[in-house]
Symmetry: C2
Subunit: 463 residues, 2 copies
């Protein structure tokens, strides 16, 4: 590892230059007018894989954007780590809110990044993060210190739901076989408090419609006697959460994982500060389930939120209409052991049961996702924690967060492998927003840490 | 009156031809590209006034569209009736839903109009209705049987809120002085059940906003701890009406007019049928305040309705956002004695008082309107009832309906005159919608009835 680190130190500027080259390619997957840039980006990554010493480099076609593959197999008896990342990025809009060109990376210092941060679309999500793995691998390969087998897949459709990844994984199941999947596409608590993401909440998502009269009515002529879908939808949504912040759907909590006092204590070791949390998003106060703090409410507890609502007149001024229909999008964040399909069914039954007879209510389910948890006994978790403690010099804590990453379920289902989420970004990196950035400290700390993960994981699995 | 009626019978076809001429002019006030047609329409009406025997005919300029004026003053000691109408019409969109050309009137028979109805934009609202007055006047003038003084104003901005009428009335207060205002811009219960509109509900209208975090949040990362403006707005709206359908705003019912058993009985003489009401608008059931039937709920009782709601993600598919803001438009229909400004103040105080501390709530009031009631003892009501009973040969009932007509307040405030709403349309005439029509029976019945109103009103006032 010493040699690898020396190699990294000697090549710091080149690593950054190479990343800048990738960041200059506007590989936006949501907009088909950028399809040439997607191809260009995949080719550029493949070239970099080869330069870095990876074998079997291949641009794998899919029904959509290609996946770039590379590997270094040194001994089939050793463990195999599959690195996953994505080279596609979010659109840069709204462009007018960027303080620099989104696809011309520059270094600027910020309060949280006194050593500077790379400002560019994709710097943190995910080019800057997957590229740490490529450069960590290069430092190991070029110094003959790779301790295990490594396979790398970098896909180009993560920002549009990884629509072709499942088929790719199924087709290449044997080729991609591995002991663990390593992903850097999340964030740590802070540069002073390193964390490994050990839990992601699942998701059940539905759209509901309440329909009254068969056309919009004049509120003067009909108001008072006809059911108003907006008022009724409001009543129904209001009734879904009680005065203690508990969801009222029958059976909703039946399978909720209750954490042991130890695990709950471990989560609460994070220096979460309610005031900082509130101030960072301009909140006057927090809300939520009684008996839990904000950190727990956003990580180990299930929730229900309306994500959108619409109906009636929404233009300027006043229009006295009682609409025929009102709609809402409602999602539930789930915790381990809650099954998204079962929760969607419970929601639907409950929601239809509380509908007044005067209206027609429909519930349309969208695709959900299972919650994910990496147990503290998992060798991947142990290796990640140890690697971060080695390079950060600080206790590394488990971190549960709310966003679901559907690919994690795919890896578990198809490759039968757990994912270790060892992201190095910060929550404040403005991913998906204007002025996305990624700290230089974080970029180099990732390159330094990843080899230790390889080492500790291999040691643990082979001892 | 006999001579006048003979004149009408002899000129039936000409009256219709003249109306058709007016209907062919697309005098759409909401679209400035039709401003030439507005002028053309005003000129055409002025010509018709002159032909009909009115004096002092004038096209009065305003800041917007002109008002057409005409009068017949026969004796300053006799009562003066001011006839009001409007020559502007709603836009014809959506054009594809019209079964005939909107500005090329044709006669077609329908179930409710076995004698035929005039299909054209403006046929019922309001060209066909104000034109009845012009032709009724012509029949009285040409047969020397006008019993009182008459002034007529036909404005061109009713469909855009009569924005310049107040100034016109103030400037011409003396010229327009009168004992009563007569308006045909409403409907009767049915051709078998003639009615005089004796009550219009008032209106208080507000827009409310609930604001949580200072930006949209990811529901995975923040859900469960941050206040969700959609959920909170739903809770707040839900709490505004209790399980008995009563509005929970403190003081809301304090000044509500409670009808005498006699007046309530008179209103319930209308052959209102709950099943027909439901079926006509595809409803599975009605809702509303306990202790009242649908007819009462839509006429003599105040209501609260959300007219629009919006917030968060409303596009296709799923987006897991907790929005920064959610909004709603909320209106209250008011009954006599409820003051719109006071009700808006009570709403605002109540709504702010129920807001959770975690969010910022704002209430923006829009222009409201007072309720209107024409007492059964009013000479205008008595004359209208008697006139309709004379020509329909049926008991004529008082009819209260929900829509407010702001000009009625203007006439009361500026001219100190009550308005008598003696409309002859049907609720099913599809005003403001494609295929607007007006029954031939209704058109001619109006021309026949109006002279009796003049006669009975004059007799009543001079005896």
């Amino acid at each position: 590892m010493v040699k690898a680190h020396q190699f990294q130190e000697a090549n710091k500027q080149r690593f950054l230059d190479e990343l800048f080259e990738l960041l200059r390619i506007p590989s936006i997957s949501a907009d088909s007018s950028y399809s040439q840039e997607i191809v260009h980006c995949a080719e550029s990554i493949a070239e970099n894989f080869k330069k870095s010493g990876l074998d079997g480099v291949e641009i794998c076609e899919t029904q959509g954007n290609p996946v770039v593959y590379g590997e270094k197999i040194i001994d089939s008896s050793l463990p195999t780590i599959l690195v996953y990342g994505h080279y596609d990025v979010q659109p840069a809009d709204p462009l007018e809110l960027w303080e620099s060109e989104p696809f011309e990376p520059i270094i600027k210092k910020t309060e949280l990044h006194p050593d500077g941060a790379i400002f560019s679309r994709g710097s943190a999500d995910d080019k800057g993060q997957f590229f740490m793995h490529v450069k960590a691998l290069e430092s190991l390969i070029k110094t003959d210190s790779l301790p295990c087998n490594v396979k790398v897949i970098i896909e180009g459709e993560e920002e549009i739901g990884s629509v072709n990844l499942e088929e790719f994984l199924r087709k290449n199941k044997d080729k991609l076989s591995c002991d663990v999947v390593l992903i850097s596409d999340t964030h740590i608590f802070s540069n002073q408090v390193p964390t490994v993401t050990t839990g992601l909440r699942g998701l059940s998502y539905v759209e509901v419609t309440v329909e009254g009269a068969n056309r919009d009515m004049h509120s003067g002529l009909y108001g008072g006697a006809v059911p108003n879908p907006i008022n009724i939808l409001s009543n129904m949504i209001a009734s879904l959460i009680d005065e203690n912040g508990r969801i009222t759907i029958k059976g909703f909590y039946d399978k909720v994982e209750e954490l042991s006092p130890e695990d709950r204590g471990e989560i609460n070791k994070l220096p979460f500060n309610e005031d900082i949390f509130k101030n960072s998003i301009g909140l006057k106060g927090t809300e939520g389930e009684k008996g839990y703090n904000s950190l727990e409410r956003t990580s180990i507890r299930p929730t229900l939120d309306a994500n959108g609502i619409w109906g009636g007149y929404t233009g300027e001024g006043a229009k006295t209409v009682i609409p025929s229909k009102a709609h809402a999008k409602i999602s539930m964040r789930l915790v381990p052991n809650q099954d998204p399909q079962e929760i969607t069914r419970l929601f639907t039954e409950h929601f239809l049961s509380i509908a007044p007879k005067s209206v027609k209510v429909t519930v349309t389910p969208f695709h959900g996702g299972k919650a994910y948890v990496l147990p503290s006994s998992d060798p991947g978790y142990i290796a990640a924690k140890k690697a971060m403690e080695k390079t950060f010099g600080k206790e590394t804590l488990p971190y549960r967060t709310g966003g679901s990453i559907p690919i994690v379920s795919l890896f578990e289902d198809i490759l039968n492998a757990k994912s270790v989420l060892i992201g190095f970004g910060l929550d404040s990196d403005a991913i998906h927003s204007p002025n996305e950035h990624y700290g230089l400290f974080n970029f180099y700390k990732g390159i330094e840490t990843i080899p230790y993960f390889f080492q500790y994981y291999t040691e643990n699995k082979t001892k």
